[in-house]
């Protein structure tokens, strides 16, 4: 709107005499209106430029070099790092691990979070107590979570295997078996994040107008039907947010597998990299084996992978959530 008016007025005032001269104060106030907003948001962009954009660009530059940490200057190799990366078995293993852990953690996490939110949304005694209770795992330090779960999933003396044995099952090699290790790590992630996501979803549920539910009730819809046909579609923006953030988080899982490794401080992700994630591989390459150029290439590929997955997720979630609620467009 404003632009239209401004354009129109500019056209309306022919410029043989030029625009009227403005006083200094007027110009100052004009500049204030024009530039102040940028000034106010500048701190973010400056900081983002320094710690976000610059590293991003420098990493892309670095990924074209064969440079080690203590090399003063590396050799330019073009895209050789990327070529090598795509032929690197360990990279594909790490990518597979990442996706496996990501799926094992994100999918149950979002589903359970929505269900927990639905439960919390019913009439409960002491609702705040329940909500805080759900959030508690999120407050616990990640390192503490890692150490405790690594103990629980210990192969020889761990509690989980002890329980399994009491129940008559075989012991599971949580460290050695690839799928078991992913499951253990995903459990760690889910334990920590489900409550957090549940609260976000709960907030969105609370924002759904009562009238819609009442209207559905009058139409004869029962609780389940109302949940599927009313609540879920209206949760769409929130679900997209939850899915996108947990995608970004899920593809960057680092601390959990690092602390899960039996070898203290190891970045190997298990004896044969069976639970090494991409971020862990990147970290190992950069700061342990110190191939900075190669690590930069990994970082960039991870960046692209996350963008692709986030877009796919976004589209999928939109598709899924719109069915049944076309009319709100």
């Amino acid at each position: 709107m404003t632009t239209v008016i401004r354009r129109a007025s500019r056209r309306a005032a022919p410029a043989p005499t030029g625009p009227p001269r403005l006083t200094f104060r007027q110009r100052l106030s004009r500049a204030d209106v024009k530039w102040s907003p940028y000034l106010y948001i500048a701190p973010f962009f400056v900081v983002f430029g320094v710690v976000g954009l610059f590293p991003l660009l420098y990493t892309s530059y670095l990924s074209l070099f064969d440079r080690d940490l203590l090399d003063v200057d590396g050799a330019f190799v073009g895209f050789a790092n990327y070529v090598e990366l795509f032929a690197d078995k360990q990279f594909w293993t790490a990518l597979g691990n990442t996706f496996s852990i990501f799926v094992l953690s994100t999918v149950p996490q979002v589903v359970i979070a929505v269900l927990v939110a639905a439960l919390l949304n019913t009439r409960l005694r002491a609702p705040t107590g329940w909500r805080v209770g759900v959030l508690l795992p999120y407050v616990v330090s990640l390192v503490a979570v890692g150490i405790i779960f690594a103990n629980l999933f210990g192969t020889n003396y761990g509690l989980v295997n002890g329980l399994l044995e009491t129940l008559g099952f075989d012991r599971i090699d949580w460290q050695g078996n690839r799928f078991a290790s992913h499951l253990a790590i995903a459990t760690m992630v889910n334990w920590r994040w489900t409550g957090y996501n549940a609260l976000i979803v709960l907030a969105a549920m609370k924002a759904i107008p009562k009238e819609i539910h009442e209207a559905a009730m009058i139409d004869g819809a029962r609780a389940v039907r109302r949940f599927v046909s009313v609540t879920l579609p209206l949760l769409r923006p929130t679900l997209i947010f939850v899915v996108v953030t947990s995608t970004i988080g899920g593809l960057q899982i680092f601390t959990e597998p690092k602390l899960f490794d039996a070898m203290p401080g190891s970045n190997n992700g298990g004896s044969s990299n069976q639970f090494q994630t991409i971020t862990l591989y990147m970290y190992q390459t950069a700061f342990e084996t110190q191939h900075l150029g190669y690590a930069s290439a990994i970082a960039w590929v991870l960046f692209l992978v996350i963008i692709i997955v986030a877009v796919v997720n976004f589209l999928l979630t939109r598709r899924l959530a719109t069915t049944g609620a076309e009319d709100d467009r």
Partner: protein, 429 residues
Amino acid sequence: MRRNQRRVLAGAIALAAAVGLTACGGSNADSGSESGQIELTIGTFTEFGYEDLLPAYEKTHPNIKITHHKTGQGGPYHQQLLTKLAANSGLEDVVAIEEGHLPDVIDKPQLFNNLADIGPKDVKPDRWLDWKYQAGTAKDGTWIGYGTDIGPLAMCYRTDLLAAAGLPTDEASVKAMLESWDTYFAAGAKYVQATGKPWFDSTSQIFNAMQNQLDTGYIGKDDKLAIESNKDIKRNWDKVTAAGNSGQTAKLVAFSPEWNNGFKQGAFATKTCPSWMLGVVKEQAGPDNAGKWAVTDAFPGGGGNWGGSYLAVPKQSKHPKEAAALAAWLTAPEQQIKAFEKTGNFPSQVDALTAPELLNSTNPYFGDVKVGTLFAAQAEKVGKAQYKGPGDGKIQENATSPALQAVEQGKSPEEGWQQAVDAAKKIVK
């Protein structure tokens, strides 16, 4: 609205990161010399036992002021060390470098001052055990670090478990059992047969000790990968994995929670024991197992060393001469004996190894054995310094150790070997 919130959040995070970043960079306090005072900084990790020594040095050198930067864990410390070496700023004037991390910098002598040039002239290599001095010297002759402590290897064993398995426990018989790796594994086979329980904690702990006894490490003198060309490495691999697959390994990764538990459960009967390991054994096995563990001055295949550090003066130091003087003083036998009394770090200086304070020290947990005398004897048994080229430590940590663990988890020894070779190639590429 939501977008705004997220932006604010991102901004806050970015800001926090920026603050954190500047906080990290601020440690490089410039050495002010207004009043003729020289400020020196020294960086160490875990416990070096220098807390009382540094004020004493300041007292005798009134123009020197020392700031001590202590890091709790060795891993993060060395990572910082390498990053600051690469950035060419931010390092202390005197830095401690652990033996296992030394190969990472030993081929970059240009980043360090040559202690032979800047150090006090009366400090000669013969202050240290020869192998300790040799390992701290770069190939081009640059003397990178003064030795602080060492970790001479002996063997710890559970007398009660040995007796229960019908194995002899008197010292002479145990020493005969620890004559060579073959006799050690043969005794292990007997132990497994009698009890069905494992003999040692993990194959990588044994393999690393065997590897350290070879003339050259994973990297040859030409700084090329020798894991395949050096046939002794594969021979050791075959022996260890054979013993492991016959039930001698408890499959417990060293320093993991499960390994700690293994000490309490008596999951293994023997343990390769550098001097500093006695404290670990005592802590993990706990009072319930007091008097059951013993240690003797014998080790399969001679001797060996695991651990110990150096003090170096990086090129970025503004007061290299003063820093070298401090490092030389700290690594003098008298000071290292004091550090030994405080922390148990075993000194690497020839004169310190004959000091009565050391020779008469005992360890009540291990049946009041004269540990000082015992480990001094073991230190003498360490042969030549093994040449460790760049990447050697990383190969042990990220190639062979995980591969041995993979064999314990079910891979065949040949598959495991291939994994180790592939990983080693990647590390040194």
